[in-house]
Symmetry: C2
Subunit: 252 residues, 2 copies
């Protein structure tokens, strides 16, 4: 069996942020599988079949990829960002665990990519420069009570926080509740960043004190990053720099 499966991260959008490792896997692939807008980022060529599918069919897509690899094809499952962060790698392993046991002998690799929070953090400065957490606010993935519990504990731990999938048309009120909870736990002066579509032509950044943030500032293409209690804002012409120092003093 000469087939293989690579689960590859395409980064946040700019081709200059795709690793050579991912480029090499795509160049050797016979099949590319993924959500429509991510497959659209792969250049068509002779000998390469593109399998684009809709959102919310991740397990079907994963099973298709595993079946094709088991048949000897060279398959790349593409994700935006990093495939291991709220993306396709977990879906593929869920399908693998539930599937026929010969799938476990397949040659499967995860090829990391630049995940959205690190692309956004880089554009703003270094708000994730000290301890931090990443929380997916999509409440079709877990109970709302668990999201609130994690946010409260993250605030108590004084982590900087990166929020994926802050807001969708289907549940617009959830993010407003999170902002209210953060305001209660962290106070109005805490810096918050809204980074939309980083590294694409639609990129837009804005940061402000938490007390001025509004839920409408985020959509599903926005990464939201809240600083820790030590995060600093350096004012200058244009977008200020947000960064979290490397040290926390004793007694802080």
């Amino acid at each position: 069996m000469s087939g293989w499966l690579a689960i590859a991260g395409l980064g946040p959008g700019d081709a200059a942020l795709v690793t050579p490792e991912v480029g090499a896997a795509l160049a050797e692939a016979t099949d590319v599988v993924g959500y429509v807008p991510y497959v659209a980022r792969v250049a068509p060529r002779a000998g390469l079949t593109l399998h684009a599918s809709d959102n919310r069919v991740e397990l079907d897509r994963a099973a298709l990829a595993l079946r094709m690899a088991a048949e000897g094809r060279r398959v790349v499952v593409v994700s935006s960002g990093d495939p291991g962060v709220f993306a396709m790698a977990s879906a593929v392993f869920e399908a693998l665990e539930a599937g026929p046991s010969p799938w476990r002998a397949l040659d499967i690799r995860v090829l990391p990519g630049i995940t959205a929070m690190l692309a956004a953090s880089a554009r703003a400065g270094a708000p994730l420069g000290h301890d931090f957490c990443a929380i997916n606010l999509s409440d079709n993935l877990k109970p709302w009570t668990l999201i609130e519990k994690r946010v409260r504990l993250a605030a108590e731990a004084d982590f900087a926080m990166a929020f994926y999938n802050p807001r969708s048309r289907a549940r617009p009120e959830g993010f407003a509740r999170i902002l209210a909870l953060l305001l209660e736990c962290c106070g109005p002066a805490r810096p918050i960043l809204f980074a939309r579509a980083v590294s694409t032509p639609e990129e837009a950044l804005c940061s402000m004190p938490l007390g001025e943030a509004r839920a409408e500032m985020a959509d599903m293409r926005t990464m939201v990053i809240l600083g820790s209690s030590t995060t600093r804002t350096i004012a200058r012409a244009g977008q200020p720099i947000l960064y979290t120092p490397r040290f926390v003093a004793a007694g802080a």
Copy 2:
């Protein structure tokens, strides 16, 4: 003033994990500044001056880079992994904030890279596939009480946890205390991963139940990742796959 400063992530080691954006910045640079082993990863060429310095002089290194950019040079500060995750970006912004105000007008960019936890996670499967946190265990950066508090709260939040700088010769006992604390909070069956020098010739991975983990399994080149309560282990020939599913059931 035509100088600029780029703070660039070289990824975990393999050149195939360096983004084209970082490669382009290095190709245009007049000066590269960084810790000795990271500068050693940059190919020398005519017109490029390499400024390698020792560990623990991050602020001096940052000030040198800012001064040279202010003088019109094209400077790349290199970090391993991602420069915004426990690396040089925060040090540069600390020096910028403390430095002369004209520095704030400099053209400064942070160029993201593949950070160690995501490279390690990719090799093991997808243990960071759901909510997670990143904690630096180097206790010369913050009080030990704060490290313990964060670990306890992260366990209560049921985050997967990625630990940077778990262990050094100067403070070998700290990581043993963290393992004991994790065992108390998370129980002996929780999967833990030790991923050393990922993507280099010295790469070594091992995973096991937390109850079998020993502090000696980590050194300063090791990334340690603890699963959440939902992280699964898929047994197969060779290294098992660790992954955290995308969903948490209601009532969990």
